[in-house]
Amino acid sequence: MTDSMHSPDRGSNEPQVRFENVQKTYDGEVLVVKDLNLAIEKGEFLTLLGPSGSGKTTTLMMLAGFESTTHGDIVLNGRSLRLVPPHKRDIGMVFQNYALFPHMTVYENLEFPLQCHKVEKTSREKKIAEALAMVELTGFERRRPAQLSGGQQQRVALARALVFEPQIVLMDEPLGALDKKLREQMQIEMKHIHQNVGLTFVYVTHDQSEALTMSDRIAVFDDGVIQQLDAPEELYERPKNAFVAQFIGENNRLNGRITELAGDVCLVELPSGHTIRALPVNVSEVGQQTTLSLRPEVVVVGAVESDGCDDIFTAVVQEQIYMGDHTRVRMEVFGHDDFVVKVPRGSSHGGLELGQEIRIGWRSGDCRALDAA
């Protein structure tokens, strides 16, 4: 299968899919998708991430052809999809509930798309065998979906979406019904399968760790708008606004007001009177309200000046939760008692006690001044 698949090709100028000013409304009053512009590169693993109702699934359904665009156009390989019905788009899809055909065996489920695409009977068998081998389900040909576990059904659904070698594979929360352990295992497998087949994967999820694990790029949706479209590490380490910072990973939020702004450092005054140095991200002027974002793991516990910390404050330990590989410590600082710090296991500051006063600090570059939302 691999040899006949397209190789990743990120260098070409024309993206494989382009959403051009796409808007979508269901009831004529509320826009579910607001002026969406999105380019999907050939061969990439793109995840649409966002809370429910953010427009991510609608975007996927418009690409699949199950929902019409109210305004704007979707272009696949330079061709408008406006008048192309779903079955002619050459886009495979894995559904949240798998949508395996219960009256067909695994083999017949995989044969169905090949029949639809008029593949010769002899090469059908070969392709089905390859697809089943890829999802490690060789030998399950004669089973019916009801005789498979959830994870196995998920693999069949994936194999079925891949077996006819579509240009793009869409996935709508395909791992949502699996338990945590199986889900994490499947994430890795899907990533490997993506690397092997080299097809474009567009994946919808509300689970940020899933998105971080698998994706080349993640589009964070909220309120019908893409808040940020970036590689996982960019998103996590350099969120561009308060929503992204809060939605991806854990995050300490501190509200304050800009008192000084110069280059890549600004000073933010908190209601408690403390002033913090931070990296200005989407703030523009002095006096503006801002949300400071500080990841729990960038905070140094027991900080001294020589640690390279730009700011050091005194906090009081409120609560400790043992998580195995790290300990979550909730502290009171700046008048808030919900400041969370992660202390890795084996750290020299492991043995904290409730009520203990401790010095905490961080580099100003890790503290991001975002919009006030």
């Binding site: 052809g65 079955h87 509930n97 949508a99 055909f101 695409h117 979406a161 006819f164 869409l170």
Partner: protein, 420 residues
């Protein structure tokens, strides 16, 4: 289960009672309660349904008219081998019993003999009136005496009819209901073509039932699909419309079709006015009318099981099929329809079996050549009071229904059926 040898091997509860006995005691109350709940209906079914059916069906193998009317004659004729003429003693007994038979028994016996040769009834009556003449004769003169009263007694066929009607249990009616009879040699042969009607009626019954089922399926499938895919609010409203016919009596619905379809009916008047045809068309008292009325009445029985199955089909399957490259019709045929099969099977079986027993509708809107087996059962049970033939036709209809059911079970599997 391995038998336990000693009491030590038996599992016991804390107070020493074996576990199994304790369990049985605990379950007993529940069983008694379940039986109590079922008992009234069970008794009703036995008394009101099973026993009458058995007694009615048993009429089809009974031939009591002669054995009750002329008991001794019947006995003696049974011993006769059927060659030529019966022994003179038998004839003499027949003459005696003709003279003394009570009016009711005599009438029934004469009517029974008339089934085989028309005119036999009046011949027996005539002979009975003149039976004093026979009483004076010796056995040897008996045949001549009979022939003197009516020359037809010289034909052995008449005597054979009496013999054939002389045994209490008979296959006579069952054979009759299939247009068959036994000839002189007791071989089963077909009846003369002018008497053969019941096989035609049976085939017609199957044909009409099949056509009605097919029409119901073709009309019901889109409705059921629509009901299953529309939003619940609208589909509930439509479902009420589907169920609406159930709120009116069958007779009213059938007669309203007469009003609509008759020569001066709404449809003919409208078509004449619109110029669709120039003279009233025969829309009723023919097969067309039967189909229209029966399909209308039976359609809900097709729609409801299909709807209830379609409702359970995952609507995402159609989208999945489309994403895999199947155009709408192919997705429907290959993915959606096979999953409807339990409902389709239940609906078609229901409509077919109900059609097999239809009586009122064909009787009211059909012509003479559209009457089904049920019509002839009613005819024989009612008008001509031929209970044996009526019961035999019922047996044939019941067997046909069972055969259809088993054929169906063979191909579809009744355990896969789904009704509401």
């Amino acid at each position: 289960m391995v038998a336990t040898t000693g009491s030590h091997d038996v599992m016991r509860t804390a107070d020493g009672v074996p576990l199994r006995i304790k369990l049985r005691r605990a379950e007993r109350m529940r069983k008694v309660w379940a039986i109590t709940l079922v008992a009234p209906l069970f008794l009703f079914l036995v008394v009101g349904f099973i026993l009458p059916i058995i007694s009615l069906l048993s009429l089809s193998i009974e031939d009591p008219d002669l054995t009750e009317g002329f008991p001794r004659t019947a006995e003696m004729f049974q011993e006769w081998d059927g060659e030529g003429f019966p022994p003179p003693e038998a004839m003499a007994t027949f003459a005696e019993e003709l003279a003394v038979a009570g009016r009711g028994e005599f009438g029934r016996a004469a009517k029974r003999l008339n089934y085989d040769i028309s005119g036999f009834k009046s011949m027996v009556k005539k002979t009975a009136r003149k039976s004093e003449e026979l009483a004076l004769l010796s056995p040897e003169q008996m045949l001549d005496g009979f022939i003197k009263i009516d020359k037809d007694w010289g034909d052995p066929a008449y005597w054979l009819v009496i013999k054939n009607a002389s045994s209490y249990y008979t296959d006579y009616y069952l054979l009759w209901s299939l247009d068959l009879q036994r000839d002189k040699e007791r071989e089963i042969v077909g009846v003369s073509p002018d008497r053969a009607i019941y096989v035609d009626v049976l085939l017609r019954t199957i044909e009409i039932s099949f056509a009605v089922t097919l029409l119901c399926f073709l009309l019901g499938l889109p409705i059921a699909y629509l009901l299953a895919t529309l939003p619940t609010r609208i589909s509930n409203l439509l479902l009420i419309l589907v169920l609406l016919p159930f709120w009116t009596s069958l007779l009213v619905r059938t007669t309203s079709w007469i009003v609509l379809l008759q020569n001066e009916g709404l449809i003919n008047d409208a078509a004449l006015w619109l110029g669709l045809w120039n003279e009233p068309q025969e829309l009723i008292r023919n097969r067309f009318g039967v189909y229209v009325a029966m399909v209308h009445i039976l359609l809900p029985f097709m729609v409801l099981p299909m709807y209830s199955v379609m409702k359970t089909i995952n609507p995402w399957h159609m989208r999945a099929a489309a994403s895999l490259g199947a155009p709408g019709w192919k997705a429907f045929l290959k993915v959606y329809f096979p999953q409807c099969m339990p409902g389709v099977a239940a609906g078609t079986l229901l409509v077919f079996i109900l059609s097999l027993g239809y009586y009122i509708t064909p009787a009211l809107v059909g012509g003479p050549s559209d009457q089904m087996t049920s019509y002839w059962i009613v005819q024989n049970m009612g008008r001509t009071a031929n209970w044996g033939l009526g019961a035999a036709l019922s047996v044939v209809l019941l067997l046909l229904t069972l055969v259809m059911f088993f054929i169906y079970n063979r191909f579809v599997g009744v355990d896969r059926l789904k009704v509401n």
